[in-house]
């Protein structure tokens, strides 16, 4: 088991660093291009959510844990938190530019767990199988 940790300022210009880090770890461990791209987007969306909705948080923590059969990525903030309901398919026709992030993560990753506590912050755990 290998662990990779990243702590970046909660600012939009840093999200790319988190994506780069996640893709380089996945690449190092031999994930194929399609999976690397899935991971890149999932990590991007999780970080976007912190930037967009986790205003109370100064920074974003990304922890990547590489196991033999899967990779687990957690993206955490110390923001306001939120109550997480059911994920439902978006309806792009009436889509107003929100509500896609978690759906995309859920679609691209093999597992997604949202842990959020109001006033404490949010962690999104994502698993991608090899």
């Amino acid at each position: 088991m290998e662990i990779f940790k990243l702590n970046i300022p909660n600012k939009k210009e840093y999200v790319i660093s988190a994506r780069l880090a996640a893709t380089s770890v996945a690449g190092i461990h031999g994930y194929d291009i399609e999976k690397v791209d899935d991971i890149r987007l999932a990590v991007g969306e999780a970080c976007n959510n912190v930037v967009l909705h986790g205003r109370g948080s100064k920074s974003i923590d990304i922890v990547i844990q590489v196991e033999e059969k899967f990779m687990k990525i957690s993206v955490s903030d110390q923001g306001e938190g939120f109550i997480h309901g059911q994920i439902s398919s978006p309806t792009p026709e009436d889509y107003m530019g929100s509500g896609l992030g978690l759906y995309i993560i859920d679609s691209l990753m093999d597992e997604m767990v949202v842990e959020s506590e109001q006033e404490k912050g949010t962690t999104i755990h994502m698993i991608k199988n090899r």
Partner: protein
């Protein structure tokens, strides 16, 4: 910058031909939005986006494109996305955006 845009008006096709290169993400989306809107302000015409070198787009970028589609629709004009990379195509498919924006894969 992480994103570059080239564009020209095709008299023959009577539409804008726009090439977006690089990454359209939470950081670069506002810049891309502004550029595309300026282009349409110059001439309100349909638009084809060459996505061959669009390496990445996220939900903020999708939201921006939907905004463009809506603007064009008011004048019965169309947005086409041409030659998306596999990861971009996949994102359009899973979000159902391929039903709102016409994709030309070839």
């Amino acid at each position: 910058m992480a994103v570059k845009i080239r564009y020209l008006f095709s008299e023959r096709g009577d539409r804008w031909e726009v090439k977006i290169m690089g990454e359209v993400d939470i950081h670069s989306t506002p810049e891309v939005k502004e550029k595309l809107e300026l282009i349409l302000d110059e001439r309100e015409k349909g638009m084809i986006i060459n996505a061959e070198e669009l390496d990445y787009i996220d939900s903020t970028g999708l939201g921006m494109l939907i905004g463009i589609v809506k603007r064009l629709k008011q004048n019965d004009l169309e947005l086409v996305l041409a030659k998306p990379q596999p990861s971009v195509l996949k994102l359009f498919r899973i979000t159902g955006l391929d039903k709102v924006i016409r994709i030309r894969e070839e």
